[in-house]
Amino acid sequence: MVDQLPQTVSILRVKKETPLIRTYVMDRSFVFSPGQFVMVWIPGTDEIPMALSSEKTITVQKAGDATNTLFSFGPGDKLGVRGPFGNGFTKGEKVLAIAGGVGAAPLLPLAREDCVMTLLLGARTEAELLFVDQLDECTDVLIATDDGSLGVEGYVTALMDELNLGAYDRISVCGPEMMMRAVLTRVEEKGIAHKTEFSLHRYMKCGVGICGSCCIDPSGLRVCRDGPVFPGDLLLKSEFGHYMRDASGRKKDI
């Protein structure tokens, strides 16, 4: 083992994906499994967790301080990267992927690995759908938008009802927590929660399983190290969909 100081990378290119989402291409590749994340150091601001959307890209949604600063960065600017960390998605033969918003980021590399039969993609409106073209190239994409501007009107859960879920051996989900909780409720009703897995977002400080800021109730599991991908049945009776913690450790509602 060697020192795991952040690796310095340069931004090669920035791609505008949606009004609020950009992809940053780095000058270095990381060996990773889809679903794993890196801790991205934006010098002078903060360090935040980001899924790898490919071996050399992260795909970032503007959310607050750190991501705002990142949005001001362009080619040649430097980032520090620790990782990849976490477990990633379990590989399956026939996977159904369900993505909401920027949640498509960790699912794109999974789809590219050729195991995803179908991918349900949701967003508020057409302009906010992420990776439509790239996903279309490698899997069967079904779309839902809240306003019906593309695909089915409504939530991705609506798309689920049209599928024969029994045909899939795994269901992999990443998106806003309310959307993921809705998916979990649906699969629980159908008795297939054990076949599902969810990539969680929790506030993270260390990223390596030591500080405790990302632990979930009641298992005490660490999202950064034991996750971020957890089996659906483990999340059934948990804080998931109900509350999370902020930087100080206080609970806040989802």
Partner: protein, 295 residues
């Protein structure tokens, strides 16, 4: 290998399930993570340090894993008083709440929230990277004595955790003893820094941080040994403990129990692992081991 005969353990007024405690600030923010560590074999757990006001902590990076240690500057993030509710579910367990403040009154206030609700209180007078807290106070014997007394006078079992970033740690240990501490915990992290040569600036958001893990073990053993020669109250060894033999070594230096933090990085079940190696029915009694490297 030297092993220890299992049996009841009471240190500094707190009954523990064995000699191994979780150190403050490691998986210590929620009741469920503390409970997970207890279930995996810790004889007791120390919580994240709780202060008078909620704090978000320093900007990241907050922690980097080095080849033989961990460098961190969390900045004492904590939910403050909300933590009282958090740990009600652990009421009967060997839980020690770590607290901090910037003066004796703040220590007394935070301590009072937990009186009667936990097995003991550990004063963080030693965090090397939080302006106005921790070692900013913990390097001054008079302040250490006053803060200790402010909490200990309530009668709760009070432990004081010392910083090694001083010219003479025994002077601080004696101050804690005078203030009514029931045990001394040594050591907290050592003030340190790494610089990203690629970024041309310090890696940690706070620039300065604290070094822990195997790298500091020989320094921690030295501090415990020095304190054992000067103080009468029990010492809890902390810093770089990662194996059963490290535990024995700390105890021979003078520790009555040990706290373990960074080793959790390599093995979240480190308590289970160490316990299995450490205890044997035909082992030595703790009394035969504690401090036996002296004289």
């Amino acid at each position: 290998m030297v092993s220890i005969r299992p049996g009841p353990v009471t240190v500094g007024g707190v009954a523990l399930d064995n000699h191994l405690l979780l150190a403050a600030g490691i998986l210590g923010t929620t009741a469920s993570s503390l409970s997970r560590v207890l279930l995996s074999g810790a004889g007791g757990v120390v919580t994240k340090s709780i202060g008078p006001h909620p704090k978000d902590g320093h900007a990241g990076p907050c922690l980097v894993v080095l080849e033989k240690g961990i460098l961190n500057a969390m900045g004492l993030p904590n939910p403050s008083k909300e933590f009282v509710d958090e740990i009600t579910s652990l009421a009967k367990k060997p839980v020690i709440v770590s607290i901090f403040g910037s003066n004796p009154d703040e220590f007394a206030l935070v301590g009072s929230w937990f009186a009667g609700k936990v097995a003991g209180i550990e004063l963080n007078l030693s965090c090397p990277h939080a302006e106005g807290y921790g070692s900013a106070i913990g390097t001054d014997p008079a302040l250490v004595e006053a803060c200790t007394r402010a909490v200990s006078k309530s009668g709760i079992a009070t432990w004081v955790k010392l910083t090694p970033n001083v010219t003479d740690i025994t002077a601080i240990g004696k101050a804690a003893e005078r203030g009514g501490a029931r045990a001394i915990v040594a050591i907290n992290t050592i003030k340190a820094m790494r610089i990203s040569t690629g970024m041309k600036c310090p890696v940690l958001g706070n620039r300065y941080g604290g070094l822990s893990g195997s790298a500091v073990f020989p320094i921690a053993v030295r501090c415990v040994y020095e304190l054992y020669e000067t103080c009468k109250i029990p010492i809890i060894g902390c810093g770089g403990v990662a194996t059963a033999d490290n535990v024995v070594e700390m105890m021979m230096a003078g520790a009555s129990a040990v706290e373990i933090g960074s080793a959790v990085y390599h093995d979240v079940k480190v308590f289970e692992t160490i316990q299995a190696d450490l205890y044997r029915k035909d082992g030595l009694t703790p009394e035969e081991i504690i401090g036996c490297a002296h004289g």
